[in-house]
């Protein structure tokens, strides 16, 4: 399990945009995985199986934590994304813009972007992992790209 942990935490953090939420999502996901370990028929697919469980949990945690009601009653509970230092100013601009755009995506959109572009799953696999039709995945990817491209408008190259 330790071999998967860092990857799962990174995956969850990209979806949740919050390290504490991501840690919660991974813990919850690992609990679920342990309980349903009998359902894993093909051990060679452990990685995809764990990614699916944790990605879904990350979406759930993210939606729960970032509901409008939660923000209203506890606006300071969500510490913003801490940006890693980057030496290249232009790249920082692009990175900042992309991160800002990523924040504005829905958790479901982030999940498909992360699974498809970061984890390298195909659209078909991503659809199966998040439990939606392929067309929905394509639609979410398209909308996410539109949003992110819009954030990049005005960034000097």
């Amino acid at each position: 399990m330790a071999a998967h942990y860092d990857r799962l935490l990174g995956l969850a953090r990209l979806i949740c945009r919050d390290t504490s939420d991501a840690a919660d999502a991974v813990q919850n996901g690992l609990e679920q995985a342990w309980r349903s370990r009998a359902s894993l028929r093909e051990p060679e697919r452990t990685r995809q199986w764990l990614d699916r469980i944790v990605a879904r949990e990350a979406v759930r945690v993210s939606k729960r934590r970032r509901s409008w009601w939660s923000r209203l009653i506890n606006p300071d509970a969500y510490v913003g994304w801490i940006e890693p230092a980057d030496e290249h100013a232009t790249v920082v601009d692009i990175s900042s813009a992309l991160r800002a755009g990523f924040e504005r995506l829905s958790a479901e959109q982030r999940a498909v972007v992360v699974l498809h572009l970061h984890a390298g799953y195909s659209v078909v696999e991503t659809a199966a992992m998040v439990g939606v039709p392929e067309e929905t995945v394509r639609s979410r990817l398209r909308l996410a790209r539109q949003r992110l491209r819009k954030e990049l408008e005005g960034v000097e190259r």
């Binding site: 330790a2 790209r145 408008e153």
Partner: protein
């Protein structure tokens, strides 16, 4: 300008950024730390934990000094449920409540007291009925347990005397939707709560409803969400549904459950809200054998019953 961003270039930038962000640790615990704590609710920053541990150690030293100054004759805290004179109840039937299943082999309920021996209080007889999940009422006067016999589920209430004898016995029928016959006492002992699942299927998260019966066997009217979930032990462990064998000690200070490493985990992280775990204590398996079922805590909350085989059990001091 950014108008030059093609899909390919945009994807490349997104991948680059996500690779950086995914690898950045932000003070998160290491894989090893978490692997050692799999099953606990949440991880915390090591610096914070070290500070807390140091603070707790300092407090413990102060308390010990205060106890010495006040003299050794001060009364011990009165343990909860001491009216049983030390009787612990356990079932010979392992039961996976999370999955809502057992092995359908039948099971008996015993009372056991250290130094005295064990008393059979519920026998399956010649049937495959499973008598499972014994649970003492908060005042220690009544032992409740569930019975599964095919599709029938009932809960039995035993009034137990201090010598382990049964004074009274009665059964309550459970609603069909209650997938688990494992009773959970409310804090005041006025009702028993059971998790509900659609069509008897185990609930999947902490928002799943509960049903409750009063001691006359009547379903409590009103919204199930009105029930005080915090009084129900399995939910106080911070997991959505009851983990296999999880239990809260009588003083509600510790929870225990089995993990997938053949260990019994005892943790102080039993608050309903996510919290930073200060630590967890692990009891290894007995040789090559994993504890096949986790029994209850002793009445004073200092011992935990681990069953390794039918008829064989170990009392482990925690």
């Amino acid at each position: 300008m950014s108008q030059g961003f093609s899909d390919e270039r945009l994807d490349r930038e997104i991948k680059r950024l996500m690779a950086i962000d995914a690898a950045h640790r932000y003070g998160a615990p290491s894989a090893i730390e978490v692997a050692q704590r799999i099953g606990t609710r949440r991880t915390g920053q090591i610096n914070n934990r070290l500070l807390l541990v140091a603070a707790l150690m300092a407090m413990a030293v102060l308390v010990a000094l205060a106890a010495l100054l006040l003299g050794s004759g001060s009364p011990q805290p009165r343990p909860l449920r001491d009216v049983h004179n030390g009787w612990i109840a356990f079932s010979t039937q392992p039961y996976d409540e999370a999955a809502g299943t057992d092995t359908d082999q039948g099971g008996d309920i015993y009372l056991v007291r250290e130094g005295v021996g064990q008393v059979l209080v519920a026998s399956r007889g010649d049937t495959k009925a499973s008598n499972i999940c014994p649970s003492w009422s908060p005042d220690g006067s009544t032992l409740a347990y569930g019975t599964r016999d095919g599709t029938e589920r009932t809960v039995v209430l035993l009034a137990v005397g201090d010598d382990g004898s049964i004074i009274n016995r009665r059964s309550l029928d459970l609603p069909l939707a209650a997938f688990s016959p494992c009773p959970r006492w409310s804090k005041d002992g006025s009702y028993l709560a059971f998790p509900l699942g659609p069509g008897g299927i185990p609930p999947q998260d902490s928002t799943s409803p509960l049903t409750a019966l009063n001691l006359a066997g009547q379903t409590i009217a009103g919204s199930l969400t009105d029930l005080d979930r915090s009084t129900i032990p399995c939910n106080r462990l911070g997991v959505g549904i009851c983990a296999l064998g999880d239990l809260v000690s009588p003083a509600s200070g510790y929870g225990a459950y089995g993990n997938d490493q053949c260990q019994t985990v005892i943790t102080n992280d039993i608050r309903p809200a996510p919290s930073f775990t200060l630590g967890a204590f692990r009891v290894p398996g007995l040789g090559a054998a994993c504890p096949y079922s986790l029994g209850p805590w002793s009445p004073d909350g200092r011992q935990l019953l681990l069953s390794y085989d039918i008829g064989d059990f170990a009392l482990t001091l925690v």
